[in-house]
Structure formats: C-alpha cells, structure tokens
C-alpha cells in the first residue's frame, strides 16, 4: 500500500487519511462484522498526477455478488467524506489471499462465529490435505465435521460441532 507522506502537501495527506477512514467504515455486505480493510480487500490508495484519488479493490472470489455492492459502498463512503475526485479500480494481480485478512479482522470474525482461515493453500496437494478438523468457535472442541464444503457465500464452508452441536462457518483458505 502506498501511503507516501509528503510534508510539502498536507492536503494530499488529508485526502489519503480521509479516504482510509472512509474505507474502514465500509462493512462487508455478507459479513457485516468486518470491514473491507479488515479483509485486506483494499490494495492501494494513491493520488494520480492529475489529482484523482485511486482506490484499488480486489474481489475475494471472481463470481462473488458482493463485489459490486462493495464497489458501490466504497464510492458512497468516499463521496460522503469528501475526498474530491476519485476512481475505484479492480486489482486482480496478485490475487487476493485469505492470508491478507488482518489480525483485527480475524479477531472480529471469530467473535462473529466464523472461524478465520488458517493459512493459504498454494497447491492442489494442500487443498486436498486441508480437511483436518477445525475448532468450534463457541466451545473450542475439535470434535467437528465439515457439513458442506461450500457454504452460504463463496468464501465459506459449513461445519458442525459434535460437542456443542452448533453449526458454524469456516472461512476458506485461498
């Protein structure tokens, strides 16, 4: 992330920090407990030479319907705080990874009842090996099972705890 500070241009600093404040207030539409900054979806906040503020946004999954909602919410938040002229761009490369969810984001997910991802799975071999039990976010038992590899949103799988019998979601490693 480019947060280059330039003391000769305090107005630039102000616009960048206003933008970050605005972005931190944008919730994920599917998981309102975390912001898009917590999820690591913001790839850059830069000023272009022509004075346009550019916010680079990454999709979590290519077909995630929340992506368009997030883009609209970002534009609305930036307008509300008055950052001036801006553009929201899509950044595909390098692809978003669940490793980029911040420590704060992981903490919030867990409180919300979603088990945060452990580590990314960079190969097919690791994805296949990745079926070990996930600890229940409520009672912490590891006596859990995967009920559905695909859950209510593209980024999550559905699990169930055999100890407390509660279902819970697991954020997939990607």
């Amino acid at each position: 992330m480019n947060l280059a500070r330039d003391d000769r241009r305090p107005a630039v600093d102000l616009r960048l920090s206003l933008a970050w404040t605005a972005l931190a207030s944008v919730e994920d539409p599917e998981i309102p407990a975390v912001s898009i900054v917590d999820l690591g979806l913001i790839r850059c906040v830069d000023l272009r030479p022509d004075g346009t503020l550019e916010v680079g946004l990454s999709p979590t999954y290519v077909g995630c319907p929340a992506t368009d909602v997030i883009r609209d919410s970002v534009a609305e938040a930036l307008r509300d705080v008055g950052v001036g002229q801006f553009v929201v761009t899509t950044v595909l490369s390098p692809p978003w990874s669940s490793d980029w969810i911040t420590a704060e984001g992981r903490r919030k997910l867990k409180i919300y009842g979603i088990v945060p991802p452990e580590q990314s799975a960079p190969s097919m071999r690791e994805v296949l090996r990745n079926l070990k039990p996930v600890a229940c976010p409520r009672c912490h038992s590891t006596e859990t099972e995967c009920v559905s590899e695909f859950g209510s949103t593209p980024c999550k799988a559905l699990h169930r705890c055999r100890a407390c019998l509660e279902p819970f979601e697991y954020f997939k490693c990607i």
């Binding site: 296949l128 590899e149 559905l158 997939k172």
Partner: protein, 259 residues
C-alpha cells in the same frame, strides 16, 4: 490496459483463444445452474451453485478481456448474450447434459482437472491479463476439483448402483475429452507466443491426475477414440442451442436490459 505480445493485426487470434476459455466457463456455469433447487441434498445444491458462480465469474473476466482485445467496444454482456451458436468456441464437453448427479460429477472432474492444469501453467503467461485471471481462477478451481474428486471416489467406490452409473457416465463423456487436447493452429500460435501452455504438456499432467482419481474410485479409464468434435471452432452438439435459448432469452427479448 496491460501489454499484449501481439501487434494489433494479430489480435483476432488472441480474441478467439480467450473466447475458448471464457465460453468453457460460461457454458459449464450455465449448465451447473440448472441444478439449483434440484440437487440430491441441500449441501450439493449449494456446492454446484457456488461452483457455477465461480465459473460465471471467470467468464465475466475472460469475456470482458476478449472485448478489450477485439477493440470494437463490445462488453461482457454483448459477448455472452448476443452471439450465435457457431460463434461460441467452448469444447463440446462443457455443453453435455447434466444427466444424473453422477454424470454431472464426471463432467466436472474432467473439466476441473483440465482447468487446474491449464491455469496453473497460464499464471506464467506472457499476456499479463491472462496470467492475472489464471492466478485468480486457479485458487477457486482447486476447491472445485476437491469437491468433484471426492464425489467421484465416493460414487465410484460406493454401491454397485452408484459405481455402474458413474462408469457409464465416464464411458459416455470420455470421447469428448479428446477435443480438450486436440492441438490446432490457434493453440500452437498461442503456445509459441508464450500466451498459453503447450496442450500436450497440459494433457500429460491431466491424464496422470485423472488416472490417480479413477484408480481410487475403482473406475476403468475408457479407450481414446478418434477426435470428431470441433466446438473450439464453433461446431457444436445439438445441446448448445437449447442452452443459448434459455440463457439469451432475456437479452433477446428486451435488448440492452440491465439489472
């Protein structure tokens, strides 16, 4: 706009190649969407819908890029919804009917493994856009293959009934896999330019992976037959027309309709 390794004059070749990839994702995604509300269990319904969504997401990126390469101002919707039957360049395997759940799983395994081996190599493409799309897509494809592979093993190494059904689906669909790897001039041009991996390499890796899965699923790999399908050149089976009739209905009835 990222750098293209081609001069403008050669852009149509890249355009056609990107359509092959995008149409494979689009048509298979549309097929899987037919399962919504009909899968054997809620979990499988969710999984097939999720995979369909990822595939349509791939198609959106690829068809948008195809439109950029073509340079005539067509966007993803124009390309997805306003082309004719013979202008779709997906391999014919993608348009084969869902059949029973076992047949859908067999088709999915064959294509997931193809996309995995193709996209893993395409992350090193000289075309920056395709490299970025491949790197994004392959992460999702791994989860698709984990799902389809697990079901293939469960059904193949399951009851006599489930075994017989997936073996017969495999026998029926296998001939269509030949087209995936039938290398033509366009495939060679793309490989020579470093845009795409060499199809024989993709084929070898795919075959190894498929053999492993079939062995675990106690299924017998059918014999290869002579290649007789040319979906990649726009010659399709009868099934594509029905898919397009449904998929394009809204855009044809209400031109330029938007959500």
């Amino acid at each position: 706009m990222s750098a293209m390794p081609f001069g403008r004059a050669e852009a149509p070749a890249l355009f056609r190649y990107v359509l092959r990839l995008g149409d494979l994702s689009l048509v298979l995604g549309q097929r899987l969407g037919e399962w919504v509300g009909h899968a054997p269990a809620l979990e499988e319904d969710l999984a097939l819908a999720n995979i369909a969504l990822d595939l349509v997401g791939q198609a959106r990126l690829l068809l948008t890029y195809a439109g950029d390469v073509e340079g005539l101002g067509r966007d993803e919707d124009d390309i997805a919804f306003l082309r004719e039957h013979g202008q779709y360049l997906n391999p014919v395997l993608a348009e084969q009917p869902n059949g029973d759940f076992g047949q859908t799983i067999v088709r999915q395994v064959l294509i997931d493994a193809f996309q995995l081996e193709l996209y893993e190599r395409m992350t090193a493409s000289t075309d920056e856009s395709l490299a970025a799309i491949a790197a994004k897509a392959v992460k999702e494809v791994r989860y698709h293959l984990r799902f389809s592979r697990n079901w293939l093993v469960r059904l193949g190494d399951g009851t006599p009934e489930s075994h017989a059904r997936v073996q017969s689906a495999l026998d029926a669909l296998w001939p269509y896999t030949v087209e995936l790897f039938a290398e033509d001039e366009l495939d060679r041009t793309m490989a020579d330019a470093g845009v795409a991996p060499r199809l024989p390499d993709v084929h070898a890796a795919w075959a190894r992976r498929i053999d492993e899965m079939l062995a675990e699923a106690t299924l017998v790999r059918p014999k290869d037959r002579a290649h007789s399908w040319h979906g990649k050149r726009g010659q399709h089976s009868e099934h594509l027309g029905y898919i397009l009739a449904e998929m394009q209905h809204l855009q044809r009835t209400y031109p330029e309709a938007r959500w």
